[in-house]
Amino acid sequence: MKLSHALPVATLAVAVSASAQEITVATVNNNDMVIMQSLTSEFEQAHPGITLNWVVLEENVLRQRLTTDIATGGGQFDVMTIGTYEAPIWAERGWLVALDDLPDEYDVDDLLRPVRDGLSHDGVLHALPFYGESSMLYYREDLFEQAGIEVSEQPTWEEAREWASRIHDPGNRVYGICLRGKPGWGENMAFVSTLVNTFGGRWFDEDWNPEINSPEWQEAIGFYVDLMNNYGPPGASSNGFNENQALFSSGRCGMWIDATSAAGRIYDPRESEVAESLGFSQAPVAETPKGSHWLWSWALAIPASSERQDAARQFITWATSKEYIELVGEIEGWTSVPPGTRTSTYEDERYIDAAPFAGFVREAMENADPTDSTLEPNPYTGVQFVGIPEFQSIGTQVGQSVAAALTGQMPVEQALESAQRTAERTMRQAGYYD
């Protein structure tokens, strides 16, 4: 009697496990991810038995949502989109599935070294890079030619200031230089950190004491505020990546230093009025070339709480594979392929032909070293961020102080003093020192 009851149940269980598995993928609304979402049917055709369910959220909402779910083991997501900041921190806590047994055809050695290192914990990958970026200098060749400026292979910040002064023409609404000013650890502080690095400063000394009021920080922030007030667009403190991209694409900026991942879009005549006259070079340097350009990657990871890890693994290896890049190149065009992840992309003739900036991007990415990003040694990993959980809060508060200095609400020295005190307090509370 009991057996006859149990049998149909067992059959049912087998039937359920063999039928379609639905995996939930949490991601952000960036162009490359929108393309990934549009290729859902390609994946589902190639992997019968797996269907994809998308949850798209704004970056900060996504970060909070994922942190809550992963910290409580909620198991709401099977694939998460995270960055080089989260990957090692979450991996250390055992929140992510280790990706150490990837199939041969995935060709893990093809991944760009710094990106791969950035997504690893104890030498084991915990997230697969979907796209990666560094930062570089974009400029308008037509304006530079008119002004008779030759851009060197490795510009310095002094040169950049001089060029900005010559191009700046606010009467015609053309501004010398556009830089991020909107406060946030991932907004203005991403750029400001690289500036501080190249001016010889660092976030923390080797004993985790904040150094935000050091002479190097003062000099870097003083330079930044001065540069933006003299040759920047009005209201720069509300400009983030998107706003600057819009300004640059509509011809308002002579120079713009920002993410290499913008190159594809500002080189696309459908999105940009300056596509024809786009020039690019490495991000400027000052005291040291170390840490003068950042390194970031958006990556796909599997939370340890997922109950469908095998299906999730099939999806993330597909979305970060050579075949996927090929697929996007064929369907969307080669300037739209996810950049900054694989050596093979940069050796592909079709990509090099379509994207003249490819070489610069590859060089910038390969030269960025998150483990050695400042002139004097530091205890952390990360170029434009510090790979500790406390950084989100410190970075955002310091970002607000820097924005206050930019708008003239307080002098640079005072802004950095207050930032220093905030950072000291947070670090003391976190137990780094007494």
Binding site: T24, A26, V28, N29, N30, N31, V34, Q37, N53, W54, V55, V56, L57, E58, E59, V61, Q64, R65, T68, D69, A71, T72, G73, G74, G75, Q76, F77, G186, G240, F241, N242, E243, Q245, A246, S250, A259, S261, A262, R265, E271
Partner: protein, 272 residues
Amino acid sequence: MNTSRLQRFGLAVLAWSITCVIFFPILWMFLTGFKTEAQAIADPTLFFTPTLESYVAVQGRADYFRFAWNSVHVSFGSTLLALIIGIPAAYSMAFLPTRRTKGTLLWMLSTKMLPPVGVLVPIYLIFRDLGMLDTRIGLTVIYTLMNLPIVIWMLYTFFKDLPKDILEAGRMDGASTSQEIFFLLIPLTLPGIASTGLLSIILSWNEAFWSLNLTSSRAAPLTAYIASFSSPEGLFWAKLSAASTMAVAPILIFGWLTQKQMVRGLTFGAVK
């Protein structure tokens, strides 16, 4: 005579200016939804060739009706539940007050003073263990709890305005407590109950913290739909505006249709 006319004119101008200031962002969002992404970030202008491009793109990316149905389900469900609990609670507080009634009322209101993020993790854990994450029932329960203090407070003030004698007369005629509530209290305070319900629906519709944190895909309401069109890299204002317009449209129309009821309810009792 002259001064009062002038005063009235001044008041009208003031009221219209305030209305314009409050309504302007909604108007601008509505207009931006009909622009291209490039126009949306260009210098502001009122004159442009409208396009439905953003609406098409938005509908192509996510199924609006699934999100909208979740919103309707959750906001109406939670309001109904809150009224079912709130009416008897407010009845007992208004007509049978004890020494602790005032304290209880204040205590209920004080729960609104806690920032929701403070209880996010405990609630998330409870929901995880009860299997209520990403379910409409879970969200309905949370919204009911969220709106219950306001619902009880509003009902309490409406009920208090009702002369006690009417209920006593009913009692003299032999009405039981439930008959008293159903045949006297509810019909007599219906405008108040309706406006309480409407407010609760609007608050639930607009709630964005819990809906974003406790749902992922199946139970995600329109707030999650809007959140999916903002982007850290790439232009999104036109699409975000189109999505937001579609998200606020139902509740805006609902608000217009029930405006009379709302105003009548909110001023109910005050004119007596």
